[in-house]
């Protein structure tokens, strides 16, 4: 049986068992990672996962069954069990479930990949990490780490409405970090971000990061941070580097515009959202400079695909336009509840997980400035970059983020290095204070976005560039 046949058998079995809609995904994922520490390889792993997940809608209740066996019998059994589980859901029923229209599609899509990351020899990849961590050790860091990760995913989607879509998505990335240990504290510097930069791309991305070229610098910075002055406490102008702004977007915009959170579907765990659907189209989210798109079509960005895991094609949409909230991340059922006519943001972490509303690429459009211009225009402030910690409340309002490094800004110049920089605020107030935004956009990849129960790890992309925010509270500490 082909993968499509297996998925089709599961869908048909679910229909036979009473489902009014069903879809199924066969997914085959190869994952490889290598980590090195202090000049030696620490762990080399290659996992292979193949299985089937089938989703059934019986009445107004969903059921989902995943199996790692791909025989016809197992597929039919999975379809039956999904329908049975959906029927059990009816014991605690909700309102009627509708699905917005989705044109049945037969399609095949692959991400662009110049250099197959699984085709690069292990010795080449290992040598890179060993050399980079070795250099950092030579330059004074106490603990040096390097990591790459590769995902090669093939999936076959079939729905009872006639979708037959196969996709192959290759993702990879890498990063290095140096930690210096002092008396009672540690200081870490990473390149290009902690645990790395990732994209839907081939090994050419890792080559472009040029890890070894940055190894000595970040090692020396981690050592210097141990004796750098603390980030001052108080309100000041804050300039964020692009990597940190990507995380800011992820946490305070991306999650907030997830329609399942807005509808209360994540209330007990991930939380809800401060956004109210009655304000969609009118709410002032940020300053006029704030233009955020939901765009799974960006070549090479980590949240890119051809079709989401409900068979909806990748389409670029506005989430925030000139500071006004205008769009959400949605799926076919949540969109129907909200009275919207688009989905396209439903994804699953492998065959064993239920597809759910997830970020794709959620990020900023470029502004009119450069980082150099922003610094030059700032009389007094702090520049922070590269995320070290992140915490935000369950409505995605109250946040506190820490960065690896800060610099004092005085009279338009970058000054002393500052250690333990943190800043805190309330999402919309913070975004409304953004008065300068750089054009130097990078699509940062976040390969570790947790959501859902059972837990799912999502891969998201976030175009971002340096920006300035006025009168931000910085330097919060214990």
């Amino acid at each position: 049986m082909s993968e499509f046949d297996v998925a089709g058998a599961a869908v048909q079995a679910a229909l036979d068992a009473g489902a009014r809609y069903a879809d199924a995904r066969v997914m085959h994922r190869r994952y490889e990672s290598m980590s090195a520490r202090n000049g030696d390889v620490e762990e080399l792993t290659q996992d292979e996962s193949l299985g089937l997940g089938v989703r059934a809608l019986v009445g107004s209740s969903w059921g989902f069954q995943a199996v790692s066996e791909l025989s016809a019998r197992a597929a039919r059994d999975a379809g039956h069990r999904a329908a049975r589980t959906a029927a059990a859901s009816g014991l605690v029923p909700g309102p009627a479930v509708d699905l917005i229209d989705s044109t049945p599609t037969t399609a095949s899509w692959s991400s662009a990949c110049e250099v197959d990351p699984l085709g690069v020899s292990l010795s080449t990849k290992g040598d890179l990490l060993v050399a980079a961590t070795g250099t950092m050790t030579e330059h004074g860091a106490d603990l040096t780490e390097g990591l790459y990760q590769i995902w090669d995913t093939a999936k076959w989607f079939v729905s009872s409405e006639g979708h037959r879509i196969d996709q192959r998505i290759r993702e990879c990335g890498a990063g290095i970090s140096a930690t210096s240990i002092g008396d009672g504290e540690t200081q870490r510097r990473s390149w290009p971000s902690y645990r790395g930069q990732y994209g839907t791309t081939g090994w050419e991305l890792v080559d472009s990061l040029d890890l070894t070229a940055h190894a000595a610098r970040i090692a020396e910075e981690s050592r210097a941070l141990l004796t750098a002055p603390l980030c001052p406490t108080g309100e000041t102008d804050l300039i964020l580097g692009g990597e940190q702004l990507a995380l800011q977007i992820h946490e305070s915009v991306g999650h907030a515009i997830e329609l399942d959170r807005i509808l209360g579907w994540e209330a007990a765990f991930a939380g809800t959202s401060w956004l109210d659907l009655t304000q969609l189209g009118s709410l002032r989210y940020g300053s006029e400079l704030m233009n955020i798109t939901i765009d799974p079509t960006i070549p090479g960005a980590l949240g890119s695909f051809g079709y989401d895991d409900e068979g909806s094609p990748a389409v670029k949409r506005d989430a925030v336009r000139a500071g006004r909230w205008v769009g959400v991340l949605a799926g076919r059922d949540s969109a129907a509840v909200a009275g919207l006519d688009y989905g396209g943001s439903v994804r699953s972490d492998g065959w064993a997980r239920l597809p759910m509303v997830r970020m794709t690429n959620v990020g900023l459009e470029p502004g009119p400035h450069t980082l150099e211009e922003i610094v030059a225009a700032t009389d007094e402030g702090v520049l922070m970059d590269v995320n070290r910690s992140w915490s935000i409340d369950d409505k995605r309002l109250n946040f506190q983020f820490g960065c690896e490094i800060g610099w004092e800004i005085r009279n338009g110049r970058r000054g002393r290095m500052l250690r333990n920089p943190t800043y805190t605020g309330i999402g919309p107030l913070f975004w409304r204070s953004m008065d300068m935004l750089s054009a130097e956009i990078v699509s940062w990849g976040t390969p570790n976005c947790g959501k859902g129960q059972p837990g799912q790890i999502g891969h998201t992309g976030h175009p971002a560039a340096p920006a300035r925010f006025r009168n931000v509270r910085v330097g919060v500490r214990a």
Binding site: E42, T45, Q46, G51, T85, A268, S391, D394
Partner: protein
């Protein structure tokens, strides 16, 4: 999977044989085979909206060959898959960079039989989980509810080329839910090794009572406050201590605060990792037998946990805490309990676990009565014939006792989104969630809006800082099955709140 038939052990042995046959007797191999039945019924807006189940098998193989190490895994257990996996991992090992820190295989050692596991829990169907959700929703008295009920069964077999072999089984269930009213949430959750021990109605009633008590909160200024942390909040302390403090890799890297032999915490604090106190697997990914391990004894740090690699680096022995990814993230104690006050011993037995669960449930039910009594304390706010909603803030007698001895401070139900700012001092920022109340003269007087905190956990638990440890523990689920945190309520001298709801 229909029985504990040892099939996983057979497959593990086949894989080891294949490695030896294909790579020769010099190849070192260890294999863990896991079959699992995992199911989770999720509800929101008082309706089941996601309902999932997974039947899967996985083989995890690690090979050390000619000084090089590689690991791989595969789903499925048919012969073709076994050979493909072995060939793939051997090929990786041949081309991998050298691994000078390879710690060797676990030698043959006795492994205890799995603690009693409940097949009815492991094989529970969606109807049983839905019935518990129904009970939770109904008991919330019309309040909006959300949460989950999950069940899990794992059957495992381990073998390595050093001649060590073991098998184990574990089943568990958990329920975690909130009730919501007027923007306020209340929570109740529980981990059990028998689904029959979950009482959805009791959890729903508790969550609803706490939600009603959390309504109409006031905003308090940030600052240091004495606190009573309820078990769900204490569980967050345990989790962060486990990941960043008692992690043998971070200890070896000098990134942990832990210093064995030093009185680092208050004498009231004893922490035990107890994977076999209830249903759990009796060995780790490397085959090392699991056992109870005291990490802090009356305030003195006594141990950190190790896998074979971190143990070798530290000059110690593995404590049985290897799992996928531990070479990178470090070994973590995932069954950590804060020993309640009045407890004689530190290592629990199965019987003790059962007593604990039953005792807690009894305490909870008693708490309803106790809380009513406590309303005598705050009853003047409600007036004759009226039920004061603040009565629901404290839902168990144990916490009520701690609250009664706090002159002025905050009662905190739960912590949320905690992240480490300074690893060595374990400075953590996060927020309160699911209910905070002002306590004055030993009585709950107002609901409070959520606060942000920035606190060093070892300092908050340091010598002289723990004023009181509760007498009854609650076992609480982790996000992932196989892990749980067990704690009573705690009364602490000070907690550093650094921001209010308004920023």
């Amino acid at each position: 999977m229909t029985a504990a038939d040892g099939a996983e052990l057979d497959v593990a042995g086949q894989v080891v044989e294949l490695v030896t046959r294909l790579a020769g007797p010099g190849a070192q191999a260890e294999v863990l085979v896991t079959r699992s039945e995992l199911a989770l019924t999720r509800f929101a807006n008082s309706a089941i909206h996601q309902n999932v189940a997974e039947s899967a098998s996985e083989i995890q193989l690690r090979v050390h060959l000619d000084g090089r190490t590689a690991a791989g895994s595969a789903h499925g257990a048919v012969p073709d898959d076994l050979r493909a996996l072995v060939e793939r991992v051997l090929a990786m090992a041949r081309f991998a960079p050298p691994d000078p820190a390879w710690p060797g295989l676990t030698p043959p050692a006795p492994v205890a039989a799995s603690p009693e596991w409940d097949a009815a829990t492991g094989y529970a169907g969606p109807d049983e989980r839905a019935a518990l959700v129904r009970a939770f929703v109904d008991a919330a008295g019309g309040l909006e509810t959300a949460g989950y009920c999950r069940t899990a069964l794992r059957a495992t077999g381990f073998a390595n080329s050093a001649g060590h072999a073991a098998q184990g089984y574990a089943a568990e269930a958990a329920m975690d839910g909130i009730a919501r009213v007027g923007g306020a949430d209340g929570t109740a959750r529980r981990w059990v090794d028998r689904l029959a021990d979950l009482d959805g109605a009791e959890l729903g009633r508790r969550a609803a009572a706490k939600a009603r008590a959390a309504a109409d909160p006031v905003e308090l200024p940030p600052g240091r406050y004495p606190v009573v942390l309820e078990p769900a909040a204490v569980a967050d302390l345990l989790e962060n201590l486990a990941w960043y403090g008692f992690n043998g890799k971070r200890y070896a890297e000098r990134q942990s605060f832990a210093e064995p032999g030093v009185a680092q915490l208050d004498r009231a604090v004893t922490l035990v990792d107890d994977p076999l106190g209830v249903s759990g697997l009796p060995f780790d990914l490397e085959g090392t037998p699991a056992r109870a391990l005291t990490l802090v004894d009356a305030g003195t740090t006594t141990a950190v946990v190790h896998d074979r690699r971190s143990a070798a680096e530290s000059g110690g022995e593995s404590t049985g805490h290897a799992r996928a990814g531990s070479a990178t993230f470090g070994p973590i104690p995932r069954n950590l309990r804060l020993v309640p006050s009045g407890t004689a011993g530190t290592a629990s037995t199965k019987g003790a676990g059962g007593t604990n669960a039953a005792g807690d449930a009894t305490g909870t039910r008693g708490a309803a009565g106790n809380t009513t009594g406590a309303r005598g304390a705050g009853g003047d706010a409600g007036g004759p014939g009226r039920v004061d909603p603040l009565a629901g803030a404290v839902t168990d007698a144990d916490t009520a006792a701690l609250v009664s001895r706090m002159e002025r401070g905050l009662l905190v139900s739960d912590l949320w989104y905690t992240r480490v700012l300074e690893p060595k001092r374990l400075v953590v920022t996060g927020l309160t969630r699911n209910g905070v109340w002002l306590v004055e003269d030993g009585r709950v007087t107002r609901a409070v809006r959520d606060l942000r905190f920035t606190e060093s956990y070892p300092r908050a638990l340091g010598p002289g800082a723990v004023l009181e440890v509760g007498r009854r523990s609650v076992r609480l689920p982790d996000r992932w099955d196989g892990a749980w945190w067990e704690a009573p309520s705690l009364r602490l001298a000070s907690w550093n709140f650094t921001g209010g709801a308004s920023g």
